[in-house]
């Protein structure tokens, strides 16, 4: 999709290059984390978004606690014919016409129920858990694969680079949301069967894998550019003249210098992954029912928007808050460790 999948400020694709070559952030091996942390601590936006992130993550982790000790209902438990006492009156959790109860503000059905009479608060917490798990795994895959391809293409150049770069071109020529839907639908049906590894169709790992692989391009491209110019740096020349092997140069000289780029890209890619997961699940190609995720919750919510608008608004707001915090955090980190926007420049300068 063109929509909802671009990371903040990350260009859609291989743009015909502005004449400049990719700049490289100064090799600052250590202190990146400390610098980022200091920047986050000292800025208003950094603190707020970190707090939001921590809150969302913590509440998602606490999902079983809420389910077992407060709401007394699992994320998949139906309460279609149950009644609860609301303002002293017995009330149907789901009315005869199929309209679920709204937010009660009580322990049970704090945010109301869905069409199956399931506790929305519980599902929201578990949904966050699923969304975050997927996004985390997917982001890791993206960063790993992106580094791998970017590094190989940028370091070895030549035909290896051509093959990888054309591959990335092709990936970018397809609206990636559609690729995601196609893969999602296909794999949800049959799971993934690679002989030794078998993943059932409803596994959360499937959307994580799909998203992780598809987004690789957003990391591979900038890292390729940065590697390309790193390899021309004097310290690489020096290492080479001392007879260091390619592996050694990559390990000792190039990789440590990609740290800044990765740290700048990580929050943005994470944010993008969260949106992408939600979009896929919204279209039914991500998390498979009955497992909740922010995307499926919004999709379910839109069906009953008239009678229960909170079912749409709340998961969407949490999702937006999550993505927003990650983007803000990304901004803060970028300003702290890449003030001259070199990573962004590398994202722009392609080919």
């Amino acid at each position: 999709m063109a929509e909802a999948t671009q990371p903040a400020g990350v260009p859609a694709s291989g743009t015909p290059a502005p004449a400049a070559t990719a700049n490289v952030p100064d090799p600052v091996a250590a202190g990146l984390w400390r610098a980022s942390w200091r920047a986050i601590k000292s800025s208003w936006a950094g603190r707020l978004s970190l707090l939001t992130l921590v809150l969302i993550v913590a509440s998602s982790l606490a999902a079983p606690l809420w389910a077992n000790h407060v709401a007394d209902s699992g994320p998949l438990t139906n309460h279609l014919t149950d009644q609860i006492r609301l303002n002293g009156e017995l009330t149907d959790v789901v009315s005869f016409e199929g309209i679920p109860i709204g937010p009660t503000g009580q322990k049970r059905f704090f945010l109301g129920a869905d069409a199956n009479g399931r506790d929305i608060m519980v599902r929201l917490l578990y949904g966050g858990r699923n969304s975050l798990q997927i996004s985390l795994v997917a982001t890791t895959i993206t960063l790993l694969l992106g580094t791998l391809f970017g590094l190989i293409a940028g370091f070895f150049r030549g035909w290896v680079d051509s093959v990888i770069s054309r591959g990335l071109d092709i990936l970018q020529s397809t609206p990636i949301i559609l690729l995601g839907i196609a893969l999602g639908v296909a794999t949800a049906l049959g799971g993934i069967n690679l002989g030794i590894v078998k993943i059932p169709g409803d596994s959360l790992f499937i959307p994580a894998l799909i998203i992780g692989v598809i987004q690789t391009v957003y990391v591979a491209r900038p890292l390729r550019g940065i590697t390309l110019s790193l390899r021309e740096r004097p310290f690489v020349e020096a290492a080479r003249s001392q007879g260091a092997t390619n592996m050694r140069i990559i390990r000792r000289e190039i990789l440590p210098n990609l740290g800044t780029s990765l740290l700048v890209l990580a929050p943005i890619i994470f944010a993008q992954t969260v949106s992408y997961e939600a979009a896929l699940s919204f279209l039914g190609a991500g998390v498979q029912p009955p497992n909740p995720s922010w995307g499926t919750l919004i999709s379910d919510g839109l069906d009953v928007l008239v009678s229960a608008p909170h079912l749409t608004i709340i998961p969407g707001a949490v999702l937006a808050a999550m993505v927003l915090s990650l983007n803000l955090l990304g901004d803060v980190v970028r300003e702290a460790i890449d003030p001259r926007g070199m990573v962004a420049a590398a994202q722009k300068d392609e080919h």
């Binding site: 999709m1 063109a2 929509e3 909802a4 671009q6 903040a8 400020g9 990350v10 260009p11 859609a12 694709s13 291989g14 743009t15 015909p16 502005p18 004449a19 054309r166 071109d169 092709i170 970018q172 020529s173 397809t174 609206p175 949301i177 559609l178 690729l179 839907i181 196609a182 893969l183 639908v185 296909a186 049906l189 049959g190 944010a271 949106s275 939600a278 979009a279 919204f282 279209l283 039914g284 190609a285 919004i298 999709s299 839109l302 928007l305 008239v306 608008p309 749409t312 608004i313 969407g316 999702l319 937006a320 993505v323 927003l324 983007n327 803000l328 901004d331 926007g341 962004a344 722009k348």
Partner: protein
């Protein structure tokens, strides 16, 4: 120029081939997706399934099937498996909708992106700049299906300010009604891109305003307006326009899936999403190829535009 065209064509062929093989492969691995059985309908009989296999070539080797499908795609004979309608005809049906959506949304993106980016860059770190930056981050972070769904209902169905969805062509309702129906969906798409573009432009414009040639322009005694628009903006717009062109191509090629779905626009994107979900390969194939062509052609146009905007670039 000829070299450029040849290179572009070669890359287009390569991209189309790769994309089509990808699509074909994905859909051929799906278990239970036997198109013959699906076409046989609700009471499938063996005789009928056999006849379908034969007539549609499902009994042929995959490579032949692939070749056949590509051939049919290009001579307009591609038929949907789910309702046997001509895929190309159906795409032609949906294209005006998608084109209209693309038209307005790309206009909004461009205008919004430029306006906010300029406002931001001309007074960096001012209140306006900070506000715009905040709006941009929020725009980038809002899920389009969510904001779209809410807009459609609250502004549309409930408040009645805008139409809740659907499409009215110019010939049916006139230009105003046409625009009116596309307003909300175009805006919904634009939020994200305005966010991205305004930030990209802000950065580039700030750089440009610091550039020596802008100082020269000021020293020449040009008006502020002319300095900013003619000299700084002209240069700063180049990267943004590049992004924009590609996003337009993707929207055109069915990329606005979510928006078309939420706003009931039923254009190419929605058709693609429906077909993908129902595993109907022919439309998926045709639209994906269309999208890839749009991207490749748009890329070429961007390159030409680029060469025009920046005379240092050679095609």
């Amino acid at each position: 120029m000829i070299g450029f065209i040849i290179r572009r064509l070669a890359s287009m062929v390569l991209v189309l081939f790769a994309v089509s093989v990808l699509v074909f492969a994905i859909f051929n691995i799906i278990p239970g997706g036997d198109p013959a059985v699906r076409m046989a309908g609700k009471n499938p009989t063996d005789v009928q399934i056999e006849a379908i296999r034969k007539e549609w070539g499902f009994d042929k080797p995959v490579t032949t099937q692939y070749a056949k499908m590509i051939e049919k795609t290009f001579d307009g004979q591609l038929i949907s498996y789910s309702n046997r309608e001509n895929v190309l005809e159906r795409i032609k049906e949906g294209l005006p909708r998608t084109l209209s959506l693309t038209f307005w949304s790309s206009l909004f993106m461009l205008v919004g992106g430029i306006a906010l980016g300029m406002l931001s860059a001309l007074r960096p770190n001012s209140f306006a700049d900070r506000t715009i930056n905040a709006i941009a981050v929020v725009g980038i972070s809002l899920p389009v299906f969510w904001i779209g769904g809410l807009m459609s209902y609250y502004l549309g169905s409930k408040a009645g300010i805008i139409p809740a969805g659907g499409y009215v062509s110019i010939s049916e309702g006139g230009v105003l009604d046409w625009f009116w129906h596309l307003l909300a969906p175009s805006l919904a798409i634009s939020f994200l891109f305005i966010g991205i573009y305004s930030r990209v432009l802000r950065g580039d414009l700030l750089d440009a305003l610091r550039a020596d040639y802008v100082r020269t322009a000021e020293a020449k005694g040009l008006s502020k307006r002319r300095v900013v628009v003619r000299h700084a903006l002209r240069n700063a717009l180049i990267p943004m326009i590049t992004l924009w062109g590609l996003d337009v191509a993707i929207t055109l090629g069915g990329g606005a899936v979510l928006t078309e779905t939420v706003f009931d626009l039923d254009g190419v994107g929605a058709y693609l999403a429906d077909s993908t979900r129902s595993l109907d390969v022919p439309p998926v194939m045709a639209i994906t190829l269309l999208g890839a062509i749009a991207v490749v052609v748009m890329n070429a146009i961007i390159d030409i535009l680029y060469a025009y905007l920046d005379p240092r670039i050679r095609l």
